[in-house]
């Protein structure tokens, strides 16, 4: 409630002083001060990217099975110990993230692209096109995502990251499309959009310069959510064994450990927990970032 004390430190002596204070703070400083969660998200994501993209150049070794090291305990050289086949878990964690992140990014890019293009068009054009788009979206939405993933994966031989990303994108776009469509519908009624229509600036300009930029934060936030969706999707596909089992990958590690009964075997707990931990951190950082993006796109904050 009300404080009855004079807080002199906040009472600047002159307006010039205020002006100086106003100008001094950089955007990032304001962001960090205001948005601790978002900052944490960026820090975590940054560390994960560093570990998985730069890490492989420094963590040497190999992924050979070695009977001598089956369920070997953690040591200085092998911080996470060894799995059921005597493979180095740390090596797998460092080398096994890149694939997951790349596929998730590609899938999110694809589904965002589909959703934004078709959703915005449906809202701007309206009429029959809108109706058709809505019907297709509804049909895709009514099919449970996991089942669809499963069926698609069963028919298509998933041996490349592109195909995997595509499959994930196909199941990922409908929710975003509906969101984009309703957002465009509401932005379309804004007075500045009406002014652009009065100036006869043409549909493309109105869509790309007047409407979409105002949705940038919204789209990026949804892109980030689509990424987390794609990470989930991959884990599920790996876990169900629907993706060809080769290479090093966090999803594979989970599936592998689980298949070997890691839940019942204290020795192999690390083999299960380490990749789960990485995926949880990845998803958490993405969520934190998504929540804080509003601040980044807020021009008031950006301007300072």
């Amino acid at each position: 409630m009300a404080q009855a004390t004079l807080n002199t430190e906040h009472m600047p002596a002159s307006s010039a002083e205020v002006a100086a204070q106003v100008q001094k703070k950089s955007f990032w400083r304001v962001f960090v001060e205001r948005n601790k969660a978002g900052t944490l998200g960026f820090v975590i994501l940054g560390s994960i990217l560093l570990l998985t993209f730069i890490g492989p150049f420094f963590v040497s070794g190999d992924n050979r099975t070695d009977v001598a090291n089956i369920y070997g305990p953690p040591s200085w050289d092998h911080p996470l110990g060894f799995d059921h086949s005597g493979r180095d878990l740390w090596y797998q964690i460092v080398h096994g993230g890149r694939g997951v992140i790349i596929v998730a990014t590609m899938a999110a890019l694809a589904s965002t692209f589909i959703a934004v293009t078709l959703g915005a068009l449906a809202a701007m054009v309206g009429g029959r096109f809108d109706m058709i788009m809505l019907t297709i979206t509804d049909v895709v939405l009514t099919v449970p995502q996991i089942v669809l993933l499963g069926v698609l994966a069963a028919y298509v031989r998933l041996n490349g990251p592109f195909l995997l990303a595509l499959i994930l994108a196909i199941t990922g776009w409908p929710v975003l499309l509906l969101a984009v469509r309703s957002q465009v519908l509401s932005l379309k009624e804004r007075e500045y959009v009406e002014a652009a229509r009065m100036l006869d600036l043409g549909m493309p300009r109105i869509l790309f310069r007047e409407v979409l930029p105002n949705m940038a934060s919204y789209i990026v936030i949804n892109f980030v959510f689509a990424m987390s969706g794609a990470v989930y999707g991959q884990v599920i596909l790996y876990f169900l064994g629907l993706v060809s089992l080769s290479g090093i990958n966090w999803g594979l590690m989970i599936q592998d450990a689980f298949r070997r009964g890691a839940v019942f075997n204290a020795d192999s707990m690390l083999g299960l927990l380490a990749p789960i931990f990485m995926i949880v951190m990845l998803l958490w950082s993405l969520t934190l970032i998504a929540r804080s993006l509003e601040d980044i796109f807020n021009p008031r904050l950006r301007e300072v």
Binding site: A195, A196, M198, L201, E210
Partner: protein
Amino acid sequence: MAQPVMSLRNLTRRFDTRGGTITAVDNVSFDLGKGDILCLVGESGSGKTTVARMAAGMLKPTSGSVLFEGHDINQMSKSDFHRYRKAVQIIHQDPYASLNPVHTIGDILRAPLLHHKLARTRRDATLRAGELLELVDLHPVENFIDKYPHQLSGGQRQRVSVARAMTLNPRVIIADEAVSMVDVSIRVSLLNTMLKLRNELGVTFLFITHDLAVVKYFAWEGNVGVMYVGKLIEHGRTPLLIGRSLHPYTRALAAAIPEADPDLTRSKEKLQLRSLDIPNLNNLPGGCVFHPRCPYWEPGLCDTTPPPLADVGGNREVACHPVIRDVRNGGNGRNLIPTEEKVRPQAAD
């Protein structure tokens, strides 16, 4: 007489609502010549904004037509329509919603110039944008051109809206409550800026407002149309219409407005209406739509026959039976006999 720039002919617009079909605008007609100012005045639900949107081509009339330079805008060839589109511009009410927050003032002004090839290069467009900012009294230009809308005050933004409307050299500007959200101290200079466009460039103004005081200042050399639940009920030159209004509704409005003068406002003669309620558009009263509130209504006439918008001389039109009769009998249209003796007044509301 020269051909009007824009004419509205028997414009009617109905909307389907849950409560049935409502007539938001009913048979409204008027002409706008070059450099004319017409203020449409009315309270909420009067249909003034719907008229503005139809005149701007943002809404199609249910019947009747909007003529631009003599041609119906809803039946024009595509190229004529594009010409009309550029010649008629809107200024919106809300200075915080009418500028896109992601563009700088310069971008906002350059876009139409470049799109319509009024400027060949970005440099030309910037120069022209600067001229436009000068035109709306935002100087020095370099303080504004690279700013974002949120860095400007409400009044300054509204000036940018005016400048944007001027980019394509329009013949008509439709201002929809363009000053009602601007602070009092800045309102006058914004009105002056718009008057300058009219006086120096011959821009025609259709000015929508609920504020008779603003009308009196802005449209002193123009006309006022008073709207009530979708109908034009009085129309005439501003000084007379405000100083000596005829329609009981207009008289009630003028009398109800408080003045910034304590003695005057407290002694001002009020016209007591029979009811405060604006009729529901779903269920309009028969006869004259104003009769349930009118202190001068005549049973048997006003509740059965809708009055026509009749010429009462001096370029004035009024839709009111008692006024029309008084004028036809040689009166000035203001000596009406209250209905009080015949009908007991109901309590307000």
